[in-house]
Symmetry: C2
Subunit: 171 residues, 2 copies
Amino acid sequence: MTPLAYALLGLIRDEPRSGYGLRKVFETTPMGNYSSSPGSIYPALKNLEKAGLVESRATGKKSVLAITTTGETAFATWLAQPVTSEEDPNIALLRFAFLQNNRPQSLDFLMSYARCAHAKVIALRNFLDSEPGQALPLQARLAVYHGLKTTEAAAEWAADAYRQLNEDITP
Amino acid sequence: MTPLAYALLGLIRDEPRSGYGLRKVFETTPMGNYSSSPGSIYPALKNLEKAGLVESRATGKKSVLAITTTGETAFATWLAQPVTSEEDPNIALLRFAFLQNNRPQSLDFLMSYARCAHAKVIALRNFLDSEPGQALPLQARLAVYHGLKTTEAAAEWAADAYRQLNEDITP
DNA sequence: CCAACCATGTAAGCTGTTACATGATTGA
DNA sequence: TCAATCATGTAACAGCTTACATGGTTGG
C-alpha cells in the first residue's frame, strides 16, 4: 500500500467516486501534492480492487468505486498509526486529514506529531552547533535553518490544532 | 539528471569523494533527506561517470570521484535555475545549499523562492475561503492550515536569509 | 461543428527501495 | 580474535512520469 493508494482509499471512503472524479480532487485541491496523472491513479485503483478494498458499483450509467468492509478496516488501521520520525511528515498529515469526527485519535495524532517535530528541531539545532555544522558555508547553513524554521512552525501548528480540537468539545 | 544526481555532483564538486564518503554525508547530515542507500547511490554515480560529469581518480590507494569541466558547467547551469512553483521546494533548497560564495545568485534565488512561497500562501488561503474549502471537515481544514503555516515560515525564512546575505556584504 | 471536457486506460523507461553478497581493514 | 566499519556493488521488484491512444458528451 503506497501513500497514493491510501489517499485514494480515503477519498472513496468519504464518498464513492469514479477514477475521473478522483483525478479531479487531486487537480483542484491541495491534495494534489499526493498525486497526479492517470498513469498512476488507474493502476493504483486496480490494485485496490484486486486487494478487495474497493469495489466497482454501477449507479445508473456511471460506474463508481465504493469502499468495502475490508477496505474500511484496512483504512481504519492505517489511520490509527502514530506518527514516527522515520515517516514522511506529509504522509502523516494525509492521515490526519482523513481523521474526521474522531477527536481522541486526532488528539493522539497531534501529540505524536508534535513530539516528532520537536525531536527534529533539536536534531537540526544540534547539527548547526556541531563542528561539521559550523564549518558549513553560509548558504548551506541557511538551508538547514530553513528546515529548522519550517519544522518549528509545524510544531506550533500542532499545538494550535490541539487547542482548537479541545475547545470544540465544550462550546 | 535526478535530484540525487545533482546532490552527488555538488558534493563531489566541493571536494573529490568516494562512493562510501558520499554515503556518509547522507547518513550524518540533514542532506539525508535527499538519499539513502547504496542501491541508489552507486548506480547514480555510474550514470554521472557515463555522462562524463565526474571521473574516477586514484589518490594513493583509494579511488575517488572528481568533477570534470563538463560537470562543473552542468552543475553551474543547474544552480542558476530560478525557483518555480512547479518545482519541489526541497530540491530548490538543495540548489541553494550549494550556492556558496555566490551572493548575487543567492539573492536572486531567495527572491524567486519568496515569490513562490507567497503564491502558495495565497493559493491555500483562497482554497480555505472557497466553498469546497469551507465544506471540509475540521481535520482536513487543519491539514491545509499546516501547509499554510509552514509555507509562511518558509517565506519569512527567505526574507531573513536575504537580509543576512546583504549585511554580510558591508561588515 | 468544434472545442472543451468527461472518462479510461496502456507502454516505455527510469528511479528508488530492499535485501543480499563480498571482502579488506582496524581497534578493543 | 571478533565486531565494527570501510568499501563497492548486484538483483528483484514496485512505483511513478511521460506520452500516447481512444471514444463519448456537451455547450457555445
